[in-house]
């Protein structure tokens, strides 16, 4: 169960004067049950990359393999693939359209060919997983708050029972509380359902906290693909790309610069708290 991108290149507007290489020779393996953070500046090709993972975009050159099969082979069922690799777009609340929340979540499973009863079970489970109040199930999705809408949209993808869940900037435009809720939800999904997660973000703090591995993209290329600690050791290079390191990491660096003996490879708030508590003793 893995996704392999083999020399993938994608060009926008390839027959105009304005041809832009959004992806340039990307090589990437996404393993089972991995939590991959994908970061990069606006326009670095993150969103383009994730649209390749479920076959919405076809690479200009190169191949993508899902479980060992090229997804652009003629007889490959790309619709079934979209059930296996669930993609939640940026601002996914813009895709809601049914009269009720529950019906909207049923849309995905229905398209996957599930029976009506199965759809309802799947929708119910998905809505429960995203922690939406049961009394909202019969409301119009348009009447919900921003954070609630986003949960519904994520549930709409979860209800298809994907093995891989790809989220494109799921926290954009949410307040800090909404952000934490969504990210915790994603972490739970990975733990409880054993899903592979790909989380796209331009916030270092988001990915440092949750991801096992981080991919850093810049101008269509993969610059780093490593554990958070190793990636954030390249603070200077990251800053040159306009990215920087998580806030705790830079706090630790300031402490070290001020002559306090703290380790430099801290990337999460919890780790920092432990170190500082030990220091205060």
């Amino acid at each position: 169960m893995s996704l392999i991108l083999d020399h993938v290149t994608y060009e926008y507007g390839s027959d105009t004067e304005l041809a832009v290489k959004a992806l340039d020779n990307i090589e990437l393996v996404i393993d089972d049950n991995e939590f991959l953070g994908l970061i990069g500046h606006t326009g670095s090709g993150k969103s383009t990359l994730v649209q390749h993972l479920n076959g919405l975009l076809k690479p200009t050159s190169g191949h993508i393999y899902f479980n060992g099969r090229d997804i652009h082979e003629n007889d490959f069922d790309r619709r079934a693939l979209r059930g296996e690799v669930g993609l939640v777009f940026q601002y996914p609340e813009h895709q809601l359209f049914e009269l009720t929340v529950f019906k909207d979540v049923c849309f995905g499973p229905k398209n996957m060919g599930m029976k009506p009863e199965q759809c309802e079970v799947a929708a119910y489970e998905a809505l429960e997983a995203v922690g939406l109040d049961e009394e909202l199930y019969d409301q119009s999705p348009l009447d919900l708050s921003g954070g609630q809408k986003r949960r519904v949209a994520i549930a709409g993808v979860l209800a298809m029972h994907p093995k891989v869940l790809v989220l494109d900037e799921p926290t954009a435009g949410l307040d800090p509380k909404g952000r934490d809720e969504i990210l915790d939800l994603v972490k739970e999904l990975k733990k409880n359902l054993g899903m592979t997660i790909v989380l796209v973000s331009h916030s270092m703090d988001d990915v440092a906290e949750y991801a096992d591995k981080i991919v850093v993209m810049d101008r269509g290329k993969i610059i780093y693909h490593d554990t958070p600690k190793n990636v954030f050791a390249h603070a200077k290079e990251l800053e040159a790309m306009g990215l920087g390191v998580p806030q705790v990491t830079s706090v630790m660096k300031s402490l070290a610069d001020a002559g306090i003996d703290v380790p430099q490879d801290i990337t999460t708030v919890d780790e920092a708290a432990d170190v500082l508590a030990a220091l205060c003793k």
Binding site: D15, L56, F107
Partner: protein, 270 residues
């Protein structure tokens, strides 16, 4: 997929055509369309096609890019062609059951098809080389005299420019929503009619909601900047004819005369 629609879009590049005053291009396009309907001979069409080819060359817009936009209206072309070829009475060439192809029908169908193609390429050349802003500025200026008759010229121009401005936004939005629904297994290309209609709802409903939302936001933003219509409004870059614009007018009227002479008036064999 939807990005392939080039009709009415602006193509960013630098050329003599891009730099011309918008009014020249609007009036030029108008006369070009008139010329196409004045001529009725092969020789005339040749002149029109040659003129168009020259202008395309000058525009620096790749021909391939224009043709891509034509694909979407292929169906319209085919329908016109079919109607003309099968439903025109005259000297019958071939007969299939109730349908027949007459000599007059064949000629008419070909003529109409050529006219339509020239017309569409000609007018899309105008939008390809003129930004929507310039286009509406030009139109506003051309129709300015109508203000005497209390025609709301500025308001109409403003509405047009907003409508034009919204085309690419809505295309982008459609693309986005389409992809989001495809990621949820929606199928817009195959399946039964019923199934496709349901999928279309999944596309159109969010699209309408967002269009209204955007219109609302825009109205607010205009209000916040004290927009109050055209009265007393000045332009940052007023349109003023330059030497090259007068020259372009000369070329256009020259073409018109030549085209009508060759395509209609002069006693030529074809």
């Amino acid at each position: 997929m939807l990005r392939d629609i080039t009709l009415g879009q602006y193509y960013q590049t630098d050329s003599i055509l891009h730099r011309l005053d918008a009014r020249v291009k609007i009036i030029g396009t108008f006369w070009f369309i008139i010329s196409i309907f004045l001529i009725n001979r092969v020789s005339g069409y040749l002149v029109a096609a040659a003129f168009l080819a020259l202008v395309i060359k000058l525009s620096h817009v790749p021909f391939r890019y224009m043709i891509k936009g034509l694909k979407s209206i292929m169906i319209l072309l085919m329908i016109t062609f079919a109607f003309n070829i099968f439903l025109t009475p005259g000297e019958i060439l071939v007969q299939f059951g109730p349908l027949h192809v007459s000599r007059e029908g064949l000629v008419l169908a070909l003529k109409m098809a050529v006219r339509l193609i020239l017309l569409i390429i000609g007018s899309s050349l105008m939008t390809l080389t003129t930004t929507p802003n310039n286009l509406t500025d030009g139109l506003e200026k051309i129709f300015n005299p109508l203000k005497v008759l209390h025609v709301p010229v500025h308001e109409v121009a403003m509405m047009m420019s907003i409508a034009l401005r919204f085309i690419p936004i809505l295309i982008d939005e459609t693309d986005k929503i389409m992809k989001a629904q495809m990621a949820r297994g929606a199928d817009f290309e195959s399946g039964s009619l019923m199934k496709r209609a349901v999928s279309l709802g999944a596309l159109l409903e969010p699209l309408f909601i967002s269009a209204f939302q955007r219109a609302n936001d825009l109205a607010m933003a205009m209000e916040a900047r004290c927009y109050r219509g055209g009265e007393g409004r000045t332009k940052m870059k007023p349109l003023i004819y330059q030497k090259k614009d007068y020259l372009a007018f000369l070329v256009i009227y020259g073409y018109l005369v030549v085209c009508v002479l060759i395509g209609r008036v002069l006693p030529l064999p074809f």
